[in-house]
Symmetry: C2
């Protein structure tokens, strides 16, 4: 096979320096333009701004009252009130109006008596010179430097510019970024129909949408070109078209790797130079940086990987800093805070790994739960609260040891989030939704590690609550014995969330005739299991034991999924014939459901948080009519006791 090769993998900083230095030899980036203030918001100043007018432009009244010459009033006192003639040496004036010639002070209307039918006013206090006067140039003196280059024009800057008479400030033109999506199997987002997508023969293109939004937010102008097939000539033509159309920068999406169908590096080598091919960061490794010269112009070009998370890493690491440097300002950085990983974060040495995590502040300590790492896992972008970087020279980070995380949310948002670690249930996302609506500062972040994992996290003080449905095989009672076993020293309350129907998810029509656990042992039935420690797994093992069945006889017993929905998806895709899950999961995907029985799903909440306002908000939500209504509509749930405190455990 004919394969490209990466150049040496570069760390991002070196890669940036190599690329930026070469670019600086070729271009200063976009030019400048003068825009009316009405169009200047969020643009970046290109030059120091000198005030063209002084502000105020005259001596004006700062209060409503009368304008006077201060010296005329020096004799006034409580004992000897002074009367002044309106229109002669006292002049009514409103806030903002210019002082009449000769006046240098204002006496507030509240401190005056009007006599003689308004012809005269009396004051008992002397005015000092320039009392209640806004003096010419008090705020801005013409020619002073008001704002510096690199400053983004926000609302406040608009005010300062307007006050100083700078009505057409000089700003940087927006960098024109041409985005060329590539890939023969790629179709535009709105052209993809569900059937084609499920066959896998087409893939919807949305990287261009995401990258355009990033580029616009960074002050650039993104233009998306038609999708080019995996053909070097077609890609070259698109690049030439973009450069001809005055693009300041070209981005080729996908094909930046070193596979046989990856043409970006080859195209760039043919039109200019590849400076960096491959960076030592995951996700993001297959990034290509170079320049091309065509149509009489030399412009920077980058190849970004086709996987959405990698593409974003590449753009945030290289493209956005380039836009910032063209605007003579520092790239936006994320705030860094100390967090404690709840789980170990293994990493490949030689590569810096960026791991997206969810965060929760528990008793002033910020805990992090990692999200799936796949470069294609788009939800890891929208769900992440922060990013932890595992350095190149490390084999990973240990659970429980503080590390730095770069925040993607505000500290307030993190502080308002309840962290639930434990079993997954579909109602948790509804709770989050309703909680945010009724208490906009609060939210519910949930991480799914199974019921037992949740209790262990509570024991370690790493979360605010845990969802659990652990059946005691001896007593048939849920959660209490597990709590007594694992939460010694942690007084908790057991709050009922829902009863839910567990059963076998099967294809419509139940083609394999699955009717009970006994059928799982059949040769022709492929099963998909849940992970160890999950309540659903405990339920299965309980049922197997009751019927004296042996787990090793079940095909697929060792294949594990982490959520009900993923079990259902495995059935839908034909990966397995059946698996145990809640009814809602089957209903959601249009699959059939063979009930096994109702089980209890509860929330375990430390008493230490019983009065926490976020917990109170959460309890309000799960006791609300709207919650019950929504959950009933999901199917397979019983919610009449939702929010009931079933039991308090004193930790002893």
């Amino acid at each position: 096979m004919d394969r490209n090769v990466y150049l040496t993998l570069q760390n991002p900083e070196t890669a940036r320096n190599i690329w930026f230095n070469r670019i600086a030899q070729l271009t200063d980036g976009p030019g400048t333009e003068n825009l009316p203030l009405e169009e200047a918001a969020h643009r970046v100043l290109a030059e120091p701004v000198e005030a063209l007018r002084s502000s105020p432009a005259f001596h004006g009244a700062a209060m409503d009252g009368i304008a006077v010459r201060a010296e005329d009033t020096f004799s006034a006192s409580t004992k000897r009130p002074l009367s002044l003639d309106v229109g002669k040496n006292a002049f009514w004036i409103n806030t903002g109006q210019p002082l009449p010639a000769g006046c240098n002070a204002v006496i507030m209307v509240e401190n005056l008596n009007v006599i003689d039918g308004g012809k005269r006013v009396v004051t008992e206090t002397a005015a000092f010179p320039w009392q209640h006067v806004r003096k010419l140039g008090e705020d801005i003196v013409a020619t002073e430097i008001l704002l510096t280059p690199g400053v983004e024009i926000g609302a406040y800057e608009l005010g300062a510019l307007a006050a100083a008479g700078v009505l057409h400030p000089t700003v940087f033109q927006k960098a024109k970024v041409a985005i060329i999506p590539t890939g023969s199997e790629i179709v535009s987002l709105h052209q993809a129909n569900d059937e084609d997508l499920r066959s896998g023969h087409v893939l919807p293109e949305f990287n261009s949408l995401v990258l355009s939004a990033c580029i616009r937010d960074a002050g650039g102008a993104a233009e998306v070109y038609p999708i080019a097939p995996d053909d070097p000539e077609a890609i070259s033509k698109a690049v030439t078209a973009a450069v001809t159309a005055c693009a300041d920068l070209v981005v080729i999406i996908a094909g930046s790797s070193a596979g046989s169908h990856d043409h970006t590096a080859e195209v760039v080598r043919g039109m200019g130079e590849v400076l960096v091919h491959g960076i030592s960061v995951m996700p993001g490794k297959p990034t290509m940086l170079g320049t091309v010269t065509t149509a009489g112009r030399s412009v920077p070009i980058m190849g970004v990987p086709g996987y959405p998370v990698s593409a974003l890493v590449a753009v945030e690491e290289f493209l956005l800093p380039l836009l910032a440097s063209w605007q003579r300002r520092a790239p936006k950085t994320r705030e860094s805070i100390d967090v404690i990983p709840c789980n170990p974060l293994p990493s490949r040495p030689g590569m810096e790994e960026r791991i997206r995590v969810r965060l929760g502040m528990v008793n002033d300590t910020c805990f992090a739960v990692s999200l799936p790492r796949g470069a294609g896992t788009v939800t890891s972008l929208s769900r992440a609260d922060a990013i932890i970087s595992v350095p190149r020279d490390s084999e990973g980070l240990d659970a429980g040891k503080p590390v730095k995380a770069q925040l993607l949310r505000t500290r307030d948002q993190i502080a308002g989030a309840l962290l639930a670690i434990g079993s997954h249930d579909n109602t948790l996302e509804y709770i989050d939704s309703l909680l945010r609506r009724t208490h906009p500062r609060f939210s519910l972040t949930s991480a799914h590690v199974g019921s037992l994992g949740g209790l262990l996290a509570l024991q370690r003080g790493q979360c605010h609550l845990a969802g659990s449905h652990l059946l005691d095989e001896e007593t048939g009672v849920y959660n209490r014995s597990a709590i007594q076993e694992h939460l010694k020293g942690v007084p908790v309350m057991l709050v009922h969330l829902v009863d839910r129907e567990q059963g076998f998810v099967v294809m419509p029509g139940n083609p394999k005739n699955v009717h009970g656990v006994r059928d799982l042992c059949r040769e022709d039935v492929r099963f998909i299991n849940r992970q160890r420690g999950s309540g659903t797994r405990v339920l299965l093992d309980y049922e197997l034991k009751k019927q004296n069945l042996v787990a090793t006889n079940i095909r697929g017993y060792r294949e594990e999924e982490y959520t009900h929905m993923n079990v259902a998806a495995a059935i839908l895709s034909g990966r397995a014939d059946t698996g145990l899950a809640v009814r809602a999961a089957a209903v959601a995907l249009g699959l059939d459901f063979i009930p096994l029985g109702m089980e209890e799903y509860d929330l375990v909440i430390p008493l230490a948080f019983a009065e926490d306002e976020r917990i109170l908000g959460l309890l309000d939500v799960i006791r609300s009519e709207e919650f019950r209504h929504r959950v009933r509509n999901m199917g397979g749930y019983e919610v009449s006791r939702s929010g009931e405190v079933l039991w308090e455990y004193d930790g002893k």
Copy 2:
């Protein structure tokens, strides 16, 4: 005089509650709409978003290689390599392509040997099931809740929505905010000419520009109506027009106070109800909150003060939180940090005072220097790094005691700023400009308290450097004796910045014939002085002493300005006939200048910061050709020795 009265002054939280509760009875705010993703950036989700598609939509290859049935490979080992037939039980596959039917694993191309002219491949390792496969629904399972209401759609959310097939999410419509500027003397920004402005008979209207930008940034749609004169009927008509045009909210700018020309409250009382008139916050006190019912609709209305800073406080305190609540999200909050005020911050009891400050991190302590507080001081908005609130029950805050400040900049921006406290010189703003350009992470913040004030701030460790031009009257040498007197224990270097010409600023043609300090004692000459502790004042006193003149004979000796430019502005406006300042100030305003002599202006920098990269950047700037070139063009400066280290003081 016919005067309105305020209702009881309300604190902002109470005022917000009163207004919001009433509004909630009248309206839920704007409705919702479905937008294509291409137009959805920065909009706010109105409903929980359920995934419409699973992602991935099929089992696909996560690596380039061959797709196999894992079970077929279980026998492979280094000792017994396994060969597979391409097209039969091994299928070439590229990343992202769907697995052929029956396959459940991918072996990477790097781990294969191709033999028999490509007909067969050999592997030495077994594949485990689902190895290098992105499984259907691994990221998103259709029907899962993906995003919650109140979430703003950023680039990441666009990706998640697109991947989940949600191509037309339901978002809140933008709130339509009608802005009605009022005031008979007000003209639109572009209509104001300099002469009219200087006469004070017209005032340029730019509050609407600033408020529109705030509203747009908060996700609203601002529409600015024509300026209404100070006439209740005209204002009522404008309100009715706005409500008829479906405004969700009306803002009347200016006239919200309780003066005779203030009609907002009266208009609102006539059309609906005034709920709050007057808040216990400075600036911002004359804020009016109410509702109006007209044209068959009831909408909230607010009257904001005409002074720019007050108007912004009112909008940030009431309007933006209302927009947030309509979008079911928490209002944006500012991060709060501990700062130490360098100067006392007196305040009026009974009013909460919001003081804008500049910040500098000196040795891990954040120091705050207050900006001018006037409600019309627009530059206090653009210059401020943070806001300190002095509570209602306080008479002010002491210098040196930690208080909370709400950040207006990022922590990185604060960390990159050098704080200079001391004498003012016009070149400082150029240094800031050049420093930001050459070192985008750095900036220079300067606060002007005079030379002596700067040395005292250095002694207290409150700044990174001080500009100083203190003449020793005995020796005629600048700064050294003052440093020895005031900086015991603080080793510093004295870096020359500029020599600058000091002299008398006079009106063009020098109508009062001022030629030296002796002329200041003339009966017909009104002088404007600089504040005590400023180098310019020391210079004046030195000259007076040399000539045996008495300060008390000078008219205006006690009137003080804080900068050279303000002295020049005082001359220009006719407030005084002359004052002492640098030539650049006179040149800037087109005034004449009678030289008194050259003086030395230096920077005093603690040796502890000598290697600080911000200081090194600053020294680079003042030694650069561009700095010298720019400063020479300002007039009255000598820069040949700029950046020279004149002297090191060991603190003993």
